[in-house]
């Protein structure tokens, strides 16, 4: 940082700590009214200040310097926690940016702090604020991704229709990601339940594209490889036309008009297998 020495900045922060902290705390409490207790805010600030001073003492200049590794870690954790607790971006960033209130007070003061030094500190705090914001955003994206995954899991139920027969009623538009999840879940359920018949019912699916059709095909082939049979039911006329138009070979894939037909066929096959033994 031109015009300011890291060690000198650390000294300023330490010597005027009480005043800076007080102004900082008041600004934060004003913004986060009710969201956090005074003692909680005080403790957090203490940690941040300690880490900031520590980093400066180690010669830290830019926020990306190794001297500030601990500080960045601290802020990242704080942001992640705030994101999880549902704080707004402003509420999260203000905790750090409000430190400037304390610094502005310094500038007004004649003794001990030159304008260049205060400017250097304010710049550093701006960087900290931006970093906090970025961490918060990343944490929020992580939570959204997690929730999307959970939603995907919940919306693809595999049900046991009968002894040895499981089914997946698919509803709504299928995309590649969802179809893959369904495929994996269905195959695992075959193993878990020891079922030799699976039915994928697509009555509730309005349209199928090449990728989805191929995923369905692969599921059938995979089930066969494992020693089970997979039938696709509920293929609407439009979808049948799409499949043919796309040139997808459904070959010897078993298809039935309705889920009921598929169930009957599966039970017949089961029965035939059983009587062959007895």
């Amino acid at each position: 940082m031109p015009g300011a020495d890291a060690a000198r900045l650390a000294e300023i922060l330490e010597s005027r700590r009480a005043a800076i902290s007080a102004a900082w705390l008041d600004a934060v409490i004003a913004e986060l009214r009710g969201r956090t207790t005074r003692s909680e805010a005080e403790r957090e600030q203490g940690e941040i200040l300690d880490s900031l001073v520590g980093g400066l003492r180690q010669g830290g200049g830019r926020l990306t310097d190794p001297a500030f590794d601990a500080l960045r870690g601290l802020l990242a954790d704080l942001s992640a926690t705030r994101a999880r607790l549902g704080f707004t971006p402003r509420e999260t960033a203000v905790g750090v940016l409000a430190l400037k209130e304390g610094l502005y007070a310094l500038a007004a003061d004649e003794e001990g702090a030159a304008l260049a030094e205060v400017t250097a500190l304010v710049r550093l705090v701006d960087d900290l604020g931006l970093f906090t914001f970025e961490s918060f955003a990343a944490a929020r994206e992580g939570i959204i991704a997690e929730q999307a995954e959970q939603l995907l899991e919940l919306s693809t139920p595999v049900v046991k229709l009968w002894e040895g027969v499981v089914a997946v009623p698919l509803v709504g538009t299928l995309d590649s990601a969802r179809t893959q999840v369904v495929m994996e879940k269905l195959l695992q359920t075959l193993v878990d339940t020891g079922s030799e018949h699976a039915i994928i019912d697509i009555t509730g699916v309005p349209a199928v594209d090449t990728q989805v059709a191929q995923h369905l095909l692969k599921t059938v082939v995979a089930a066969r490889l494992m020693g089970a049979e997979c039938t696709i039911s509920g293929i609407r006329p439009q979808i049948a036309q799409t499949i043919v138009a796309l040139g997808i070979e459904f070959g010897d894939i078993s298809t039935k008009a309705t889920l009921a037909d598929a169930l009957v066929a599966a039970l017949r096959a089961n029965g035939a297998a059983k009587s062959a033994i007895g």
């Binding site: 990343a138 994206e141 992580g142 991704a145 995954e149 893959q180 994996e184």
Partner: protein, 138 residues
């Protein structure tokens, strides 16, 4: 955020049958650590097994370099197979020769490519072969 250069790579020699198994196990461990889904792990390890075997049999032996990748929230695994063997003369042909029923002794490169997210190959007659594959967490 920009991609971070891979951590120090793990280097495994490929000179015996047993080495192919060791490569599989090492790739599996990294894939688990990078939190790849079970299916993606299996695909990556299977591709690694094929390529390690290629290195051994067609390349006359070589090595595998494994590294962990990170970009933003995603984590991944990269494996590079190197050998100083004869190189592949007709790469286009080798890349389109897929298996149909497991018969034939093709290099299976096109198959391996389908199993991973990123695939690149660098080879020329007399200049050895270098194949790099990578897969990421979702």
């Amino acid at each position: 955020m920009t991609a971070v250069e891979p951590d120090a790579a793990q280097r495994l020699a490929i000179t015996t049958d047993g080495d192919v198994v060791r490569v599989r196990q090492a790739v599996r461990a990294l894939a688990q650590g990078a939190r790849l889904s079970l299916v993606d792990q299996t695909k990556l390890v299977t591709a690694a097994s094929e390529l390690a075997r290629n290195t051994l049999i067609y390349g006359g032996g070589g090595e595998a370099l494994l590294s962990e990748l990170a970009e933003g929230r995603r984590t991944g695994v990269r494996v590079e197979f190197r050998d100083d063997g004869p190189g592949i003369p007709d790469l286009d042909q080798a890349m389109t020769d897929g298996w149909t029923s497991g018969s034939g002794l093709g290099l299976g490169l096109s198959g391996a490519r389908r199993l991973v997210e990123q695939f690149s190959i660098d080879t020329a007659p007399g200049q050895g072969t270098r194949v790099t594959i990578a897969s990421w967490s979702r």
